[in-house]
């Protein structure tokens, strides 16, 4: 079995980083399939794990906001998720409920005693159980005053006392675990492939000015003949995180998550391949950590195994028949 047009010299995946800081990375991804670029985008948004408050034990709440209202707000506060791979999922942990291996405890204890003004409760007011490791489960604070997010306001005599348990999770379960804010994703900005049908009043050309990315590619006028076989192969990506992880690291974690997903499929389909070379110690390569060891390769290509205990069931066990299975042969 061979490729028609993949892996031939110049067609290796290429990236051009245009801008980067800890919140944001902007790059052009070239020579990969649209499906691969899109799957990376989806995975980065919905399956890269982060920390978020998941359980709130309310001891006292005499503020004007109801318990569940505050609990919901607490869940949405971004927490640092740098060393997330050191945290276990609570469901995989040996403990009964939660412990320091699978959670971080953030406590709030505030009472307003001021006659004249309301007390503002910010995310910096959390007492975090593991102050030592700032990279996991601490509130992300990025405003110049260093206050963080306003959680509630208290009048004189009102009090809030809560214990919040932050756990590891992914955004497929709840959007509060999303590592990203916006992920920009664009290809073929001048619509040479005609994937879009431009809407216009009178003249599409005047009403659709060439975009910033469009200036980097041929315009429709410069296109001589329409290429029916052309496929998109330049993707303009802008990945912005909410602050819990650095943007470049987030992208690398997305790649790893997608690789693990594929490795799981391989081990489900051919367990004999899976057992000869476990890759459980595979770590995402963090930028700046490795210097020049790019040629190293990882333990992937050869053997595959699952990641995460409990995720894999034995292959060849009982199979479920779905109602729709018998009748759909012809209707693709």
């Amino acid at each position: 079995m061979d490729y028609m047009d993949m892996d031939t010299g110049d067609n290796e995946p290429a990236i051009n980083v245009r801008d980067s800081n800890d919140l944001n990375v902007n790059f052009i991804l070239r020579n990969v399939d649209l499906s691969l670029a899109n799957s990376l985008r989806r995975v980065v948004q919905s399956e890269v794990p982060t920390m978020a408050i998941d359980l709130v034990e309310i001891e006292s709440n005499t503020s004007v906001l109801p318990d569940e209202f505050i609990a919901h707000r607490l869940g949405l506060i971004p927490l640092t998720s740098g060393n997330i791979e050191k945290v276990q999922y609570s469901r995989d942990c040996d403990c009964d409920d939660y412990c320091e291996k699978c959670s971080v405890t953030l406590s709030l204890d505030a009472r307003c005693t001021d006659e004249r003004s309301n007390m503002h409760l910010y995310s910096r007011d959390f007492m975090v159980s593991n102050r030592a490791d700032l990279s996991v489960g601490n509130p992300v604070i990025r405003d110049p005053q260093g206050k963080g997010i306003l959680i509630a306001k208290l009048r004189k005599g009102q009090e809030i006392k809560m214990k919040c348990i932050a756990k590891k999770g992914i955004a497929k379960e709840h959007a509060k675990w999303m590592p990203t804010a916006a992920v920009g994703f664009e290809y073929d900005p001048n619509n040479l492939l005609r994937h879009l049908d431009l809407w216009y009043e009178e003249n599409a050309k005047e009403e659709w000015p060439v975009s910033e990315n469009g200036k980097l590619e041929p315009t429709q006028e410069e296109q001589e003949v329409f290429d029916f076989d052309a496929t998109p192969n330049r993707f303009y990506v802008n990945l912005e995180t909410v602050g819990g992880v650095e943007a470049d690291r987030c992208f690398q974690q997305g790649i790893t998550v997608l690789q693990n997903k594929l490795a799981d499929i391989i081990s489900a389909l051919s367990p004999e391949l899976a057992n000869n070379n476990p890759v459980d110690d595979y770590q995402p390569r963090s930028p700046g950590a490795g210097g020049d060891d790019y040629g190293n390769g990882t333990s992937y290509g050869g053997g595959f195994s699952t990641h995460g205990p409990g995720a894999q069931s034995s292959y060849g066990g009982q199979r479920t028949e779905y109602a729709g299975m018998t009748s759909y042969g012809g209707n693709y």
């Binding site: 995946p13 691969l36 799957s39 490795a263 700046g288 790019y294 009982q318």
Partner: protein
């Protein structure tokens, strides 16, 4: 609220549930139907699009039967040069290799970007 499916069922397999179920199509030669449990378009589209690149694969398509069912169904037909199952395994491992290249390239380019920006700020 009470009949909402548990949210983890989008990605966690049930007790004893297989990740992938394979069934050969008895009416068409070299054709198999795969059910990927707890997976979605992320994998379905990725595998389908890459299977189309293989010479021996004559047919590949997927569908998510229903938005509330956390699974997709992939149908793969080949010309006999490779079994559908081997084609999917091969496809997965090729994508993993490509992703490795993307990761390495990204690491390299980030380093270069940091060097270039460092040089700029020193020059100004």
């Amino acid at each position: 609220m009470s009949n909402a499916p548990p949210r983890h069922e989008l990605f966690l397999l049930d007790e004893g549930q297989d990740k992938v179920e394979v069934k050969m199509d008895t009416r068409v030669p070299n054709t198999a139907v795969f059910t990927f449990n707890r997976e979605d378009h992320t994998l379905g589209n990725l595998l389908t699009a890459h299977l189309h690149k293989y010479k021996d694969v004559t047919f590949a398509a997927y569908k998510v039967e229903h938005p509330l069912k956390p699974l997709f169904i992939l149908r793969v037909g080949t010309d006999g040069g490779i079994s559908p199952k081997d084609a999917v395994v091969r496809c997965c491992s090729d994508i993993i290799t490509t992703l490795d290249k993307v990761s390495r390239e990204f690491t390299k380019e980030m380093e270069l970007f940091k060097i270039a920006r460092g040089g700029e700020s020193n020059g100004v």
